[in-house]
């Protein structure tokens, strides 16, 4: 009995001592246990979240990626240190990467916020500018016989502009910015090519002006009739004694920009001509007609030069039978190079013209700059 009691006492003492030893060891381990920088890590995670909310993925993607990479590095080091024996853990690098991630996250947030604000305004301004440019193109260049690549390029620009506007309406400003850049590039290319084509055409302006002024002065001096055609304006004037007697809308060949180079080019010629024949209704299929003396000497010289320079084939003829005639009023350029009028207008022109009446056909009576600025003023 006594021995049992003694044994029980020994066991209890052993257990208590063991517990105390455990507690002491545990207390020592607790005091020595290294603390990972959890607050810094939580701050870094928060920085990533806040930057994402500010759409840093769109407006500051590189900074956001750097922030995430720094945070990931902190986590990797944390896992590595946690796997070590507690006395050899060192969270210095964890702390470093977590702090760097927080700083970088703040930079991403600042950049994204600033960019979002600026893109909101810049896309609005750019959209307005490009819409104005499109409107000007439609006014000035679209009515011209532009080549297909220029038209396609412009129309594609207009479509992308619509996509940019739709993106802005959805507040996808970064998408709008990308689309506006593309639309702007295409639009400027189209305007440049169209303007270059027109400017190139207008390099003959001084020559046209001289023809018209000389003819008008002669009409005034000699008291005779003059027919003057302005291709750009699509107008025909009949002068008598140097004064305008009649003024009509006309239709030309579809490729009216430029002089007539050969038969079948659908171009209306430019130059100083005269009426060589008046054709009454029974002598023409176009109601009434005034045959002019195309080709004149200038036309022949140009034709020969172009053949010699191999700009046109020898097999192409220079063409002829260019008239001022009726059956016009269709509202579009449809002739093979002739100048067409509505029949009632043709009646008047026919009655005022005679054989040898001068006919001067020019590209434009107004300089290009005035035409463009007049179109702007008409808005």
């Amino acid at each position: 009995m006594r021995q049992r009691a003694k044994r029980r006492k020994t066991v209890i003492t052993t257990v208590v001592l063991g517990l105390m030893l455990f507690l002491v060891a545990g207390g020592w381990a607790y005091l020595k246990w290294p603390d990972p920088p959890m607050e810094e890590l939580r701050n870094a995670a928060e920085a990533i979240s806040v930057a994402r909310d500010a759409e840093a993925a769109k407006y500051a993607p590189e900074l956001l990626h750097e922030t995430i990479a720094l945070f990931d590095s902190a986590m990797v080091h944390l896992k590595t240190e946690n796997s070590r024996f507690f006395l050899s853990r060192d969270f210095t690098r964890v702390d470093f990467f977590a702090r760097e991630a927080t700083i970088k996250g703040a930079q991403a947030l600042a950049k994204a916020s600033a960019k979002a604000r600026s893109v909101h305004h810049t896309t609005a301004a750019t959209l307005e500018d490009l819409e104005n440019m499109a409107a000007e193109f439609k006014r000035v260049y679209a009515p011209l016989p532009l080549n297909k690549p220029v038209r396609e390029s412009f129309n594609q620009a207009v479509m992308i502009l619509s996509e940019a506007r739709l993106a802005r309406e959805k507040s996808d400003y970064h998408i709008a910015e990308v689309k506006l850049e593309k639309a702007g590039r295409l639009m400027r290319e189209s305007v440049k090519k169209a303007h270059s084509m027109l400017a190139d055409y207008f390099s003959d302006y001084s020559k046209w002006k001289e023809w018209a002024e000389t003819a008008m002065a002669t009409s005034a001096r000699q008291g005779n009739t003059l027919i003057l055609v302005d291709k750009m304006a699509h107008r025909l004037w009949v002068y008598q004694n140097g004064k305008i007697k009649a003024d009509f809308q006309v239709e030309l060949g579809p490729q009216w920009i430029g002089p007539k180079l050969h038969k079948g080019d659908q171009a209306t010629p430019e130059g100083v001509y005269k009426v060589v024949q008046k054709k009454e209704r029974h002598r023409t299929i176009y109601y009434k007609a005034l045959l002019i003396n195309y080709p004149n000497n200038d036309d022949r010289a140009r034709y020969q030069r172009n053949i010699a320079d191999k700009k046109i084939s020898r097999r192409l003829e220079i063409g002829g039978l260019i008239e001022i005639h009726g059956h016009g009023g269709r509202g579009f350029d449809w002739t093979n190079g002739c100048v067409a009028l509505d029949n009632k207008d043709m009646d008047i022109v026919f009655s005022l013209a005679r054989e040898n009446t001068p006919v001067v056909i020019v590209g434009s009576l107004e300089p290009l700059e005035k035409i463009i600025s007049n179109d702007k003023a008409k808005q």
Partner: protein, 196 residues
């Protein structure tokens, strides 16, 4: 000998008792990672970007909690397990919502494709019927070129659809519809004026 055994048993029991809460719910964490990746693969980052970003942020928070507990003398993963379960359910919901949104967008795209193609056909018909305007043949050619550009946009949109870019297809078709509607409206106005 017996005392040493008892002592050892007591100490081991104590350690086991205190460490019974220190198991990382690794299987659940792996399942959660897979669920988030699944949502992303289904297009959650494209169709529900805000919800997906929230998933990623919550995952970061959970990983941080896990490492915090792993680093402790006596870690407790009960709260982590609860968060993991909650986020796994959220990820499944997001994935479901993505499917719903994709279906909505696909329906809208399919309808738009038919609508725009029909409008292009109507516009071509109107061009043939339209009286010639003052701008002349150049304007008619311009309208035909505009219609051509819309047709090119429809082809490009079909290509994007095939490549799986639903949102890109939708945006392009909306712009094409706007363009061809404008062309049709202009042509109808001209025809109406002439009839008067």
């Amino acid at each position: 000998m017996k005392n040493k055994f008892v002592l050892g048993f007591v100490m081991i029991s104590f350690v086991v008792l205190l460490s019974s809460c220190a198991k990382v719910p690794q299987a659940e964490l792996d399942a959660l990672t897979a669920a988030i990746e699944d949502a992303r693969a289904n297009g959650a980052d494209v169709f529900l970007p805000t919800e997906f970003a929230a998933l990623q942020d919550s995952m970061n928070a959970i990983n941080t909690m896990v490492e915090e507990q792993k680093g402790k003398l006596f870690g407790n993963f009960k709260a982590v397990s609860a968060k993991v379960a909650e986020l796994t359910a959220t990820a499944a919901t997001v994935k479901g919502n993505v499917e719903t949104r994709k279906a909505e967008v696909k329906t809208e795209v399919d309808n738009l494709m038919v609508e725009v193609s029909t409008l292009v056909g109507e516009a071509k018909g109107l061009v043939a019927k339209a009286p010639r305007g003052k701008e002349g043949a150049a304007a008619v050619e311009a309208i035909k070129t505009e219609i051509g550009v819309v047709e090119t946009a429809i082809s490009e949109a079909a290509g994007k659809l095939e490549a799986g870019d639903l949102m890109g297809t939708l945006d392009q078709l909306k712009a094409a519809k706007e363009k061809v509607t404008a062309i049709t409206t202009e042509l109808n106005d001209v025809i109406a004026k002439v009839k008067k």
